[in-house]
C-alpha cells in the first residue's frame, strides 16, 4: 500500500515552500495530506484539510481567531485543531509519517501535533529554530529536527536543497523496515549515564541470559522522562536505575531534570525495581560561565566545554538520599537499593578526582534513616562499575521476583 505522509504547514505564509515539499514527497512515490494551520488567509494552492476546518476542530472559526489579534492564542487554537485532524487520520490508519515546516510559530504548531503521535511513527520538523535548544519542541518524543539554515522564505537554491533533503528523509524513514523488537522477551528498562555505563554493560548479558531484553536510557533529563513514560505505558516488566543524577536536576535546577515524578512510575505500576546511587557524587551543570555563582568555589571538574561537574557535598548527599527514599516509599512494587561503597561513578573511584568516600557514606546513612524497612538496602564493597556491583544488582533484582 502507498504510504501516506501528513504535511503540517501555515499556507498563509509558507504556501510556496509547502507545495514544493509536497511535490518532492510525491515524486518519491508517496501520498500526501496537507493540513493548513495558517490563520491569515488561504494560500494559492488548496489544502486537503483547509484552515477553516482546522479552526473549527480547534473550537473556533477563522474570523474569530483573526479578531483576537493575538497570534499566540490563535496558534494555540490552530495547533489544537491540527492535532485533532491528524489524530483522526491516525485512527483511520491513514498516516505513516508526518512532516512540518516553519519558523517559530510553524515549529510550535508542527511539533505540538507530532508530540501527540506514538513513538516509532516517523516525524520530521524542518525549522529555522532547529539549531538551538530543541527540547521545548521535541519534549521526549522521537522528532527529527532538520535545520533550515536559510529562512523558509521563498524558494531558492538553499531552501530547495533543504526541502528536498527533508522530503527524502521522511520518505526514507517511512519506507525503512520497521525493525521492532523481537516482541517475545520481556523488557527491562535501565537508566544510566556514561560515568556508570560499565555497570549496565556488565548487567546486560546477565539479564539476557535470564531471558530479558534490555533497553538503556541515558539519564540526561529527556532520557529519564522517556524511561518513565515507557514504564507508565507498561513496556517494561522491571527497572534497573543505575543513575539518580536527575533527582539533583529536579531539586537544584541543574540541566538534567526529568520531572518531579522521576523514580515513581515503577512504584506506581508495581513492577520490581533496583535503584543505585549512581552519579550522585556530582551535579552536572552547563558551561562554566552558566554555572550559578554559589558553586564557583566548589570542587569542580570540566567534563567537556559544555558540561561542568560539581562534586556533591554531605548536605546534598543527605537531600538526594531522603528525596529518593520518599519516592521509593510511595511505591507499591518490590524494590531494593544497592549501594556500592567504593564510588558512585567512574569519577569517585579510588584514585579519581572525585574520590571522597566519607561524603558518599552520608548517602547510605541518610537513606537508611528515611527508607521504609520493607525496602532492602544492600551495601556492596566495590565501585559501581565493577562486575561485582552489577552482579549484586542483578541478584537483588532476581530475588525481588521470587
Amino acid at each position: 500500500m502507498v504510504k501516506m505522509i501528513v504535511i503540517v504547514a501555515t499556507l498563509d505564509t509558507k504556501s510556496e515552500e509547502a507545495r514544493y515539499l509536497k511535490e518532492r514527497i510525491e515524486e518519491a512515490g508517496l501520498e500526501t495530506v496537507v493540513v493548513d494551520a495558517g490563520v491569515l488567509g488561504d494560500g494559492p494552492f488548496p489544502a486537503d484539510i483547509p484552515s477553516e476546518q482546522v479552526a473549527q476542530l480547534g473550537g473556533s472559526t477563522l474570523p474569530e481567531l483573526r479578531a483576537l489579534r493575538d497570534e499566540g492564542k490563535a496558534m494555540e487554537a490552530m495547533a489544537g485543531g491540527a492535532t485533532q485532524a491528524v489524530q483522526d487520520l491516525y485512527r483511520q490508519g491513514r498516516l505513516d509519517g508526518i512532516i512540518g515546516l516553519g519558523g517559530s510559530m510553524g515549529t510550535s504548531v508542527g511539533t505540538q501535533v507530532m508530540r501527540s503521535l506514538p513513538f516509532g511513527l516517523p516525524k520530521v520538523m524542518v525549522s529555522t529554530m532547529a539549531s538551538r535548544d530543541i527540547s521545548p519542541w521535541i519534549g521526549h518524543k522521537d522528532i527529527v529536527m532538520l535545520p533550515s539554515v536559510a529562512d523558509l522564505s521563498g524558494l531558492n537554491r538553499m531552501t530547495k536543497r533543504t526541502l528536498s533533503n527533508a522530503a527524502g528523509a521522511i520518505a526514507g524513514m517511512v519506507q525503512a523496515d520497521a525493525a521492532g523488537g523481537d516482541g517475545e522477551r520481556p523488557i527491562i528498562g535501565i537508566g544510566t549515564l556514561g560515568a556508570t555505563e560499565a555497570c549496565a554493560r556488565h548487567a546486560r548479558p546477565l539479564l539476557e541470559s535470564m531471558g530479558y531484553e534490555t533497553i538503556v536510557f541515558h539519564t540526561v533529563g529527556s532520557g529519564g522522562r522517556a524511561l518513565e513514560e515507557r514504564i507508565a505505558e507498561g513496556l517494561a516488566t522491571g527497572v534497573l536505575e543505575i543513575s539518580i543524577q536527575e533527582v539533583f536536576g529536579n531539586l537544584l535546577g541543574s540541566p538534567y531534570d526529568a520531572g518531579a515524578d522521576r523514580f515513581e512510575n515503577a512504584g506506581r505500576m508495581g513492577i520490581p525495581q533496583v535503584v543505585l546511587p549512581g552519579n550522585a557524587d556530582f551535579i552536572a551543570w552547563s558551561p562554566p560561565d552558566a554555572l550559578p555563582s554559589r558553586y564557583r568555589a566548589r570542587h569542580l571538574h570540566m567534563h567537556n566545554p559544555a558540561i561542568t561537574l560539581v562534586r556533591s557535598n554531605a548536605d546534598e548527599m543527605r537531600i538526594i538520599a531522603r528525596t529518593l527514599a520518599e519516592k521509593l516509599n510511595r511505591g507499591k512494587g518490590p524494590t531494593a537499593v544497592v549501594v556500592p561503597t567504593e564510588g558512585f561513578s567512574d569519577y569517585s573511584r579510588k584514585g579519581m578526582f572525585f574520590y571522597e568516600p566519607e561524603t558518599d557514606r552520608v548517602f547510605a546513612e541518610a537513606l537508611r534513616e528515611a527508607i521504609d524497612p520493607r525496602i532492602e538496602v544492600i551495601e556492596v564493597p566495590s565501585d559501581i562499575n565493577s562486575p561485582a556491583c552489577a552482579e549484586a544488582m542483578v541478584e537483588a533484582f532476581r530475588s525481588l521476583q521470587a
Binding site: V149, D151, G154, M158, N165, A167, D177, G181, E213, I307
Partner: protein
Amino acid sequence: MTKKILVLGTLDTKGAEIAFLKRSIELSGCRATVMDVGILGQPATQADITREDVARAAGQTLEQIRALPNRKRIIGAMIQGAIEKAKLLHGSSGFDGVVGIGGGTGMHICTAIMRSLPMGLPKLMVSSMASMDVSEFVGAKDITMMTSVADLASLNTVTRTVLAQAAGAICGMAGASVPSSEPRTAIAMTSFGITTQRADNVGRCLREMGHELVVFHTVGSGGMAMEELLDQGLFVGVLDLTTHEFIDQVAGGHYGGVGDERLETAGRKGIPQVVGPGGLDCVAIFAPEGVPAKFAGRRTYYHDFRVCVRSTAAELEVVARILADKLNEAAGPVKFLVPLRGWSSASRHCEPLFDPEADRAFVDALKGSLKPDIEIREIDAHIDDMEYAQAAVSHLHQMMTSSSR
C-alpha cells in the same frame, strides 16, 4: 548510481549498533563506509577507515594519541584526523551523505566532522543527547538531529527502530534530487520576525533583475550561517537590513554574541552591502517569569514566548560604534539605510516601542563614527514598508553594477 554514505561512530562502545546501521543502509540500497573515531577500547567490528588511519591523518599513531595528557587533547587529535580523512574522501571518491551515532562524546566528535563538510550535503546525527540545546553541535550548519530516545547501548525494540529510520532518512536525503532551474546569481538578506511580506517584495524586485533572494533569520545561527556562505562565495550582494543581534549583544538580549565575524565577511570579501538597523529598537528576551529587573520601567511588547524591550539611546550609541568599526574596514562598497518610522514590527508608529529620539541618537552616533565614504540614507518609511525595500534593492543594484564595471 548507488549512493554512498559515510558512517561515523566509536566501534568500541557502539560496534553492534554501527553494524546494524550499516546493514540497514545497505538494505535501503546505499553503500556504507564506516569510519571508526573511537580511541580507547577495542573495535567490536571492522571499520573501512580504521582508528589507526584516523590517527595517522592527524600525524600521530594511536598510541601517541592515547598517551596525550588529557581527554580534551585526545579527543581533539581524533577530531583533527577524522576531519582530514572525511575531507580527503569527499574530495576523491566522494559520498552523498554522512550519518553519525553516539552519546555525548560521540556527538561532539561526529558533529565536529560534519561541520567541516559543505552545506547541502545531507548530515544526520543520531544521539541520546540530540534533544536539548544543540547549538554547540549544529553551529551554523545544516546538521539534522535525531534523538535516539533510548540509549544506543544495545540493540532492542527502541534502538532498532531508531537506527532503521536513521538509515532510511540518510539514504532518502542522499537520494533526493533538486530539480534544476535556470541559474541566477544569489543575494542574501537578513530578516527578523514577521516580515514575510517584505521578503516577498524584495524577492520580486530582485527576480526582475535576474537575481534570487536567500533570507536568513537573525535569531541565533542565521546571521552566522550567512557569513559562512558569504565566505564560500555564494552571494554577489547583501541586504543586511536586520542587525538586531548587536543590540542583544550590548543590552543583554537573547540573540547576542553570535560570533565575531558577524557583519565582517561581506566587507572582507569586497561584496557590495546595504546595511540597516532592523530590530535594533528592541532587545529580545525569553521571559517566562516576567521581564528581568534590569529592564524595569522600559516599554515592552509581547511577541509570543519572547518579549521585546525598548532599547535606549545610550545602548544604541554603543551599537552604532560597533557597526561603524566593522563597516569602516570593508573593502567593498557599503551603504547604510535608516528608515525613520520604526525598525521592527514592534515599533510601527502606533505600536509601543516607537521612540524616534532614541533612534535619532543612533543615527547621530553612526554619522560621527562611519568614515565619510560610507553613505547614510534616511528613508521616511517603516522598515517593513515597500518603499524601504525598494530603496534597499535599488541602492544595492546601483553598487553592484558600478562595482562590476
